[in-house]
């Protein structure tokens, strides 16, 4: 008999009621058990592709068709001759298909996109201020870097491209660990080996002058959903182009033995004309997180800076430093 089954039996004998499904593992203090390693890989597109138009959900057959198309596309890319469009992308990004670990399945939400709001599954428009800020940073990263600060936070190993917050399926390392006690839940992301320690009692917000790369996260249980509010980002955190006054609301709902719904909403009226919300379902995995010691092995940074200095010495002006995936 599994421990979790026995736990249900014991709680039933004690008459402790629960509002969640009997399939959801519980902690002894009556909250759903969120602890475990969660795989957030998905090939569900972040924004709804034009081909899906107003379609919000897919059928099982349509999902199979989509997944097959993605697999075929990757296979074609993996065997492509290195003389066309793909090899330039590979060079710019620094990885070929071997290194990418983006998953092979769509999210079990069966949705056409991760974005569920705005209703069309597409990002809201940026404000004038948003476009201006994005333009500034793109220009910064297009030029030869004068110092490490010119490169983005991923190149500097300060933040992880998929670790957010919020977490979002990316090229690789799409794993997070949740460690749960009654008073705290830790989110440990594999990407750049980073963590947030989140109080479950609402916590106490930091004053507005204290700005953090990952923001200040406070959590509370809303019934059986753990809701985390994060504010106090610094002006360089810039998830998806957001600014320091972005408010992130994440919610974690255990659906059954293997799945966790992860929903988040970004609100930043200075940068975006509307809020936006994403929903995916994460899969419990037995795989361990590796220690992604990004900075310790960041050979790219001194090489990039050395390259920029050599270009200067040779009198070369180069404005092609923006990688292809950012263009």
């Amino acid at each position: 008999m599994k421990n979790s089954t026995l736990a249900v039996l014991v709680f039933a004998l004690f008459g402790i009621s629960s509002t969640v499904s009997a399939d959801v593992p519980m902690k002894s203090w009556g909250k759903p058990n969120l602890q475990g390693n969660w795989d957030f890989r998905t090939i569900t597109p972040f924004q709804r592709p034009a081909s899906f138009a107003d379609k919000e959900f897919l059928t099982a057959d349509e999902i199979e068709e989509y997944e097959t198309a993605v697999k075929n596309s990757r296979a074609a890319r993996a065997t492509a001759e290195f003389d066309g469009e793909y090899d330039q992308q590979d060079l710019d990004v620094g990885y070929d298909q071997f290194y990418l670990d983006q998953g092979t399945t769509m999210s079990s939400t069966m949705r056409t996109s991760q974005l569920v709001y705005p209703e069309n599954g597409r990002m809201p428009a940026m404000t004038d201020r948003g476009r201006e800020t994005a333009g500034y940073f793109r220009a910064l990263q297009r030029r030869a870097p004068e110092g490490p600060e010119d490169r983005n936070t991923y190149d500097r190993c300060i933040l992880g491209f998929n670790a957010g917050p919020p977490m979002r399926s990316g090229a690789y390392n799409n794993m997070m660990k949740l460690v749960q006690t009654e008073d705290y839940i830790v989110i440990q992301t594999e990407m750049v080996n980073d963590h947030r320690v989140i109080p479950t009692n609402g916590g106490e917000a930091l004053p507005s002058n204290m700005r953090l790369w990952k923001g200040d996260s406070r959590g509370e249980w809303d019934g059986d959903t753990f809701v985390v509010t994060t504010t106090n980002f610094n002006h360089l955190s810039r998830f998806n182009g957001t600014g320091e006054n972005m408010t992130l609301t994440e919610s974690f709902t255990r659906l059954d033995d293997d799945r966790l719904e992860y929903r988040w909403t970004v609100e930043d009226p200075e940068i975006y004309t509307d809020k936006y919300t994403s929903v995916v379902e994460l899969q419990l995995t037995d795989a361990d997180l590796f220690e992604y010691a990004c900075h310790e092995a960041n050979y790219a940074m001194p090489l990039m800076l050395s390259g920029a200095r050599k270009q200067e010495a040779a009198g070369i002006e180069d404005d092609t430093w923006l990688p292809s995936w950012s263009r």
């Binding site: 002894s28 004068e146 110092g147 749960q180 008073d183 830790v186 109080p199 590796f290 900075h295 001194p302």
Partner: protein, 311 residues
């Protein structure tokens, strides 16, 4: 701090792991007591509430639970500068920082005072120390490893569950998992923090740390190890707000015998105590990359030299 002002026993009675190990022995023992309690209760007058029944049963089995190390802790010593006894010494920034640019004096945290280097191995430590500003991996914001991460000058938070004990360190925003449910396993590859397997010996948490990178140091004095480092840590809660911390270091390539550091860890008892963010990368970039900046005019590393191979 709701559960951290006294030596409290764990209230999480349902381990996640199903493997057969010590924690499961505790689990089944606990469950047996609970079920026995249910049977006894079913033959007794009805309790006033289910919660009261749970509470009575829980109190009857507390002796089986390990101590709760949860909380925010910090070493308050100068071991991060030098684990051996040392007088105050200036760093090569006193021209900028004055009296702030000093390594404070401190007594040795090494049991027996001195590290038992093999005769020919002390010279490497002295060489490391002489070029400390360019070589210390922690100054470059590399993960300090174990035990150094424990006594870096910043708090850390222990989160204790049955399957793993997670430690979140403020310094570097580093962390590690101490696995409590997989004895006998080993790391697939080395890492900066190594691979930590925990077990309870009485009320002491014993952690076996293996597979650490050879690149870490024990302090800023250049005390070092090889790729054969093995560390056994012991965490003993000696009263409400203190842990006695020990780490025994074995490395036959560098030391003639195992040696132990010992120090108290202090609970941060402020009501608003919390781990804050200290991503040290942004503060190490000058040290690592200054000489690669545009319009770099000359050496500005801490000791005035140009790091030839900073990474």
């Amino acid at each position: 701090m709701s559960d951290t002002n006294s030596i409290t026993m764990r209230d999480e009675l349902l381990p996640k792991s199903y493997s057969f190990h010590l924690a499961n022995l505790v689990f089944w023992k606990t469950m047996s007591l609970l079920l026995l309690g249910v049977l006894i209760t079913s033959c007794s007058p009805a309790p006033t509430s289910p919660n009261e029944t749970s509470s009575e049963l829980a109190s009857s089995i507390e002796v089986n639970e390990p101590p709760d190390l949860s909380g925010i802790w910090q070493a308050l010593n100068t071991a991060h500068w030098d684990v051996e006894g040392h007088t105050a010494r200036g760093m090569p920034v006193t021209n900028i920082l004055g009296a702030y640019g000093v390594m404070q004096a401190g007594t040795s945290v090494v049991v027996g005072d001195e590290i038992p280097y093999l005769p020919e191995m002390r010279a490497q430590q002295e060489s490391n120390q002489a070029d400390w500003a360019n070589l210390d991996p922690a100054a470059k914001c590399y993960i300090p490893g174990i035990p150094r991460q424990t006594y870096m000058p910043a708090p850390f938070q222990i989160l204790q569950t049955d399957s793993e004990i997670f430690i979140a360190y403020q310094w570097g925003s580093n962390s590690r998992s101490i696995f409590m449910d997989r004895p006998g396993t080993s790391a697939p590859i080395p890492s900066w923090m190594g691979y930590s397997l925990g077990r309870w010996e009485g009320d002491t948490l014993v952690v076996d740390v293996s597979s650490q990178m050879s690149d870490t140091w024990f302090d800023a004095a250049g005390n070092y190890h090889s790729d054969e480092l093995h560390v056994e840590e012991r965490y003993s809660l000696i009263d409400d707000n203190h842990i006695e911390y020990e780490a025994t270091i074995t490395d036959p390539k560098v030391f003639r015998e195992p040696w132990t550091i010992r120090m108290p860890l202090y609970r941060r008892i402020e009501n608003d105590a919390r781990i804050l963010e200290f991503k040290c990368v942004e503060f190490a970039e000058d040290l690592l990359y200054e000489h690669l900046r545009k319009d770099y005019e000359g050496p500005r590393a801490l000791d005035g030299s140009i790091p030839e191979n900073p990474v």
